[in-house]
Subunit: 133 residues, 2 copies
């Protein structure tokens, strides 16, 4: 599978599934039209309940990351209009604010903070490049 799930973490399992799929799509591991495992398949693979996987799939469909075809399965959706774009941009900005406050308490200078930020993005891009080779 393209991701892992750890029930001991604080973030809910269904959220980890959502994040995992979104990351796989962002990296290009999953592309438009690719079929995802059925809720029962994925539940068996990761030893989860099918309801938990279904909850994740519903959230992913709400965000237009996947498309559901009743009776057939779920597929990676084509990039298009993004729902709730403004709210999500707002939430991103708020998260950045909290990050900057935390950086302050970790005694990071503005330069160090920006560097950590760029470093995190570069590492991600390296992974993406490898996966897409």
């Amino acid at each position: 599978m393209w991701f892992r799930v750890d029930p001991r973490l604080a973030t809910p399992v269904y959220q980890q599934v959502v994040d995992g799929v979104k990351e796989a799509v962002a990296k290009g591991l999953l592309r438009y039209g690719d079929r995802l495992p059925s809720v029962r398949e994925l539940a068996t693979m990761m030893t989860l309940n099918h309801n938990t996987v279904a909850k994740a799939y519903q959230e992913l469909e709400r965000e237009r990351v996947i498309e559901v075809v009743r009776g057939r399965g779920t597929y990676v959706a084509q990039p298009g209009v993004v729902p709730d774009r403004e709210e999500r941009l707002e939430k991103m900005a708020e998260t950045m604010r909290l990050l900057w406050v935390e950086a302050h308490h970790l005694q990071l200078s503005e330069d160090e903070f920006v560097k950590l930020f760029q470093q995190s993005m570069q590492e991600w891009n390296r992974e993406r490049g490898r996966d897409n080779a």
Copy 2:
């Protein structure tokens, strides 16, 4: 008070108190040696339970943001050694990763993403400048 609390939000109230105090310290609204309201005072002011405020204060003390003197009160701590520095840096990096994934799904280019980031920091610095005048 230096912050607000909204019990309707998803983030726990005690966490909002923690974030609020940390932000006030980061901005310079609270400085080394300043006294914080007692748990019962703050609880009354914000119509919370004293246990909720106490939980927030304990977390703040664990992070060395404040110092507790039994029988006297709580005070803003002097900047010093930061506990759990490595773990918190790790968590920051992980948050940045998730932000970058979300940015991808919001169809933000790398430049737009970085710009949003810088913009968020600049706005914060403006507020800080105003408060510290």
